[in-house]
Symmetry: C2
């Protein structure tokens, strides 16, 4: 079902990051479902987590461990989210990090746990423990693509991107993987992403770079408006390229930031393309807004509207629904009397009136495409924001209504 | 498809309000689609309109007319929302009110226009004009049920409720009709409601009473989170009972307020029961919240979650999705570590942990019912709010994907 998304075939290794996968049988049979990521000493690590107040035990523990410690190991399992599991869930998360820490002779606080899968079932830690030795032996810098596969839940395509740029005469690379097929999946929570670079970046800057890139990528996508209990995104900077972010030129900094943003956008868009039941990949672009918050609010209002999304699934150029979805925002300064609307480049509304040149025929033809750009120019200022989403299909209802039965 | 909703068979007449319907052929064939409501002199009228910034021409004009004038006539058409129609749409709305005003020898500002139906098509005013004479002759206090039918669009059942109470030894009645089958319907916008009482109520109090009752009724329902371009709710007080709201006791005031609130809740719930594709009628009740806004935010977050709604359609007691939907609210004070969850009276979570007594079997059985109550006790304070909604079904996608094709 994924919209114009194919399996990745290449990912550059990142000096200082080794990965291993194993089949622990947590939920799936005959596939890898556990990933261990080893981060070299002297690396810096930044992370962002779900804002959901019903967040999972591993999220709470990873946040705590990150506070004062340099993480050395990430342990990730698919098939069980360890969410909604109360104290037993927290005990399981703690036990997992302890097991990894003992095996590698580090502190438990240097291990970050991540889980994705069914909510409400307690994680069987022994299944992970049993795989530690084989994973320890299997650690390699070349296992990014295997890891991308092992963290999948309802994903239909694995997600990995990689970019190499030349900075200060040296190869700097950024490689990342992600999983997700909905902001939250049925019971199968959720979105995880791991990105690494060999650039040397101090912690505080690293967190800032992650936040900036996430704002333009993972925080600009929606499949069904449901934020998950387990979302996490980790950015590792190993410094092994011997190039320091602080010592490079402004242009080179921009070059790196663009590469990181591109990578995270590709991962984020891949999640949308693989969205549950998706048949369209939709870009909602709000331009000339009064301020960025307004652009974001309108963009999400359109992108999350069930009526817009069902129209998209039917390739119906239903501009009335789009403008009504824009108009329902609780933004006091929003007015649509000057707004213009474009669907895949075709002008539909011009400054509040139906465009003279617009025909239903042209609209219908534009909507046939698998990739749709809905652009609204508010003509209220100069701010803009773009959000990526999918259509709402029968398949989405089937996947989510039938998941546990 | 409507969930436990049958055609109304009785509505008390309200002295001072006469209604007439006609078949103008605006969109439908072989059924009435225009309603004229005459309000006696000395009546007071309050109204609430959609907050959508892409609101329809009749909404803008009705708001303007209401400002300084006592409305004498309401003219309502189904089949065409006269929304997204620009200046031509405003011209049509003005022409409609002028035609009614000339026919009855009142000022155009004393006529309020309402439209519901397809967005983006200009209204043919002559079709309404052609029916004015016959409607003028057909005005009667007994036509509430006919009017309820004539304002329907994608509704499958007409909606009318009525209540008589004794105040100060006299019969006071409240009668109301509504239409709607989604907060916004596909292209078919939307929710309209007209309520009248023979009590005498000053304008300023009338608006206050309407807002209070709407808060507990029309502003507490959601089918698909999409607010329409044409929503309107009108409350008329004719005063013909010769009982004045200002002169009655506090107990009697409460009695009236309860009757009004009951009536508007029944109408609002009827819209949800008739929601597009609905197979469940769902009450989301948030109790023991820190404050009312928190209760409302959590209630709507649960009620609008596509994942909760698809689970409901499958009768799946998917408490993980319910708690995740509650948890995704952007309320800084919200915490769920002390929250309890009940589904149709069965305790699922108790103070943040899965209840010892809960079994999947019991949950599944509770979810089989056509009427589901999801109750979350936040244990953060004493505020509460209730929202009514439906499930999200294949039928919803079909109705909204196939509507214009």
């Amino acid at each position: 079902m994924a919209v114009k998304l194919t399996e990745p075939t290449q990912a550059y290794s990142v000096d200082g990051v080794r990965l291993a996968t194993a089949s622990a049988g947590i939920r799936y049979v005959g596939r890898d479902d556990v990933v261990l990521i080893e981060i070299a000493q002297q690396s810096n690590v930044a992370a962002m987590f779900t804002q959901n107040k019903f967040c999972a035990a591993p999220v709470a523990l990873a946040k705590k461990h990150l506070k004062d410690n340099a993480p050395r190991y990430l342990i990730i399992n698919a098939g069980n989210a360890n969410a909604g599991t109360g104290q037993l869930g927290m005990d399981a998360a703690i036990a997992t990090t302890k097991a990894v820490a003992e095996h590698f002779n580090v502190m438990p606080q240097q291990v970050l746990p991540f889980s994705t899968g069914v909510i409400g079932e307690v994680l069987d830690v022994s299944k992970i423990e049993n795989q530690l030795l084989s994973m320890s032996n299997g650690l390699s810098e070349d296992h990014w693509l295997l890891a991308a596969k092992a963290i999948m839940t309802t994903d239909t395509v694995s997600k990995a991107y990689s970019k190499k740029i030349n900075i200060a005469g040296k190869d700097v690379c950024v490689t990342g993987i992600a999983k997700g097929s909905g902001m939250i999946q049925p019971n199968m929570a959720t979105m995880l992403s791991y990105v690494a670079t060999n650039l040397e970046i101090p912690s505080c800057i690293l967190q800032e770079l992650l936040c900036q890139a996430a704002d333009q990528s993972f925080n600009s996508i929606t499949v069904d408006s449901d934020t998950s209990t387990n979302d996490a995104c980790v950015l590792v900077a190993t410094g092994r390229s011997k190039v320091s972010y602080e010592s490079i030129t402004l242009d080179e900094k921009d070059q790196f930031k663009q590469a990181l943003c591109w990578l995270m956008q590709m991962l984020a868009q891949a999640i949308v393309r693989d969205g549950e039941g998706a048949t369209k990949f939709v870009t909602v672009c709000i331009e000339l807004a009064g301020y960025i918050k307004q652009a974001k609010t309108v963009a999400y209002s359109v992108a999350n509207s069930p009526l817009v999304k069902t129209a998209l699934s039917a390739s119906d150029p239903n501009w009335g629904r789009i403008m009504a979805a824009a108009g329902k925002c609780a933004d006091e300064d929003l007015q649509l009397s000057e707004a213009s609307l474009y669907i895949n480049g075709i002008v539909v509304m011009e400054r509040g009136e139906l465009a003279m040149s617009y025909t239903e025929q042209a609209g219908k033809q534009a909507m046939q495409a698998e990739e749709i750009e809905i652009k609204i120019q508010l003509n209220l200022g100069l701010a803009q924001h773009t959000v990526w989403t999918t259509d709402l299909t029968h398949e989405y209802v089937s996947i989510n209504a039938d998941y546990r039965s």
